[in-house]
């Protein structure tokens, strides 16, 4: 499954990228799975995604919790808790 991954705020800065197009391993089923997988992708990813309690996820521009399925997703975004307003 090829998806677009987006990163915002300090995640974007720490990873040194705003987005990437990537083929996900087929065994990833949920948001929790993709967070765990991200932590294995290198030192910067490990730093960012080991703090899973902090990283929020949106699937196709909708907030998603840890148990949400990523099946069929075209765009998955990772970001810290929002601070607008």
């Amino acid at each position: 499954m090829t998806v677009r991954l987006l990163y915002f705020a300090w995640l974007r800065e720490k990873l040194g990228r705003a987005e990437e197009i990537i083929a996900l391993p087929p065994h990833l089923g949920t948001v929790a799975d993709i967070l765990a997988w991200q932590a294995t992708r290198g030192p910067e990813y490990e730093v960012v995604f080991t703090r899973t309690g902090i990283v929020r996820v949106a699937i196709d521009q909708l907030h998603a919790d840890l148990s949400a399925s990523i099946s069929g997703a075209r765009e998955i975004a990772f970001f810290p808790p929002v601070t607008g307003g």
Binding site: F8, A9, A58, Q61, P81, V82, T83, G84, G85
Partner: protein, 155 residues
């Protein structure tokens, strides 16, 4: 009835006037304006950068707005949120809710802000006069605030 994300400043008075123009069916208008303060944790700030998630931001604000319109009898609503680089004293966000009666207008405006604060994908980065700064931490109190509006908050 409108959601805008923009770099440009907004004019609260002009927005209210546009919303009310030619109407005689509105009895109560509540506005909330959020502004950049010149100080954060005792440090003087020089600027703030507001980043957002284009596409999701507009979609999320529209969802928040239609949730408010489902809960209260509102004749007009407006959300304007700025992004980009802001200076102390600058406008950040404007929320307007208009209704026949004042309690609906107050509750809806307060609800819109609580939801926006906990759900709309904006992030603030502050720059202090002494060169320090960084991403603003989310406040737990904002999550508590949104919970008082009931289950939809935990979507």
């Amino acid at each position: 009835m409108g959601v805008r994300v923009q770099n440009a400043d907004f004019d609260s008075g002009g927005e209210i006037a546009a919303l009310l123009a030619g109407r005689t069916d509105i009895g109560a208008v509540v506005t909330f304006t959020g502004l950049m303060r010149g100080e954060s944790h005792g440090k003087a700030l020089t600027s703030m950068t507001l980043e957002h998630y284009p596409g999701m931001t507009e979609a999320e604000l529209a969802r928040v707005e239609s949730e408010a319109r489902a809960r209260w009898p509102l004749q007009a609503t407006l959300i304007v949120h700025r992004v980009g680089i802001l200076k102390p004293g600058d406008n950040i966000v404007l929320v307007v809710a208009a209704s026949l009666h004042r309690h609906a207008a107050f509750d809806a405006a307060s609800f819109l802000m609580d939801y926006l604060k906990s759900r709309a994908p904006f992030w603030k980065k502050e720059l202090a006069l002494d060169g320090s700064g960084g991403w603003v931490d989310a406040r737990e109190s904002d999550d508590v605030a949104v919970q008082r509006w009931g289950t939809a908050a935990s979507r």
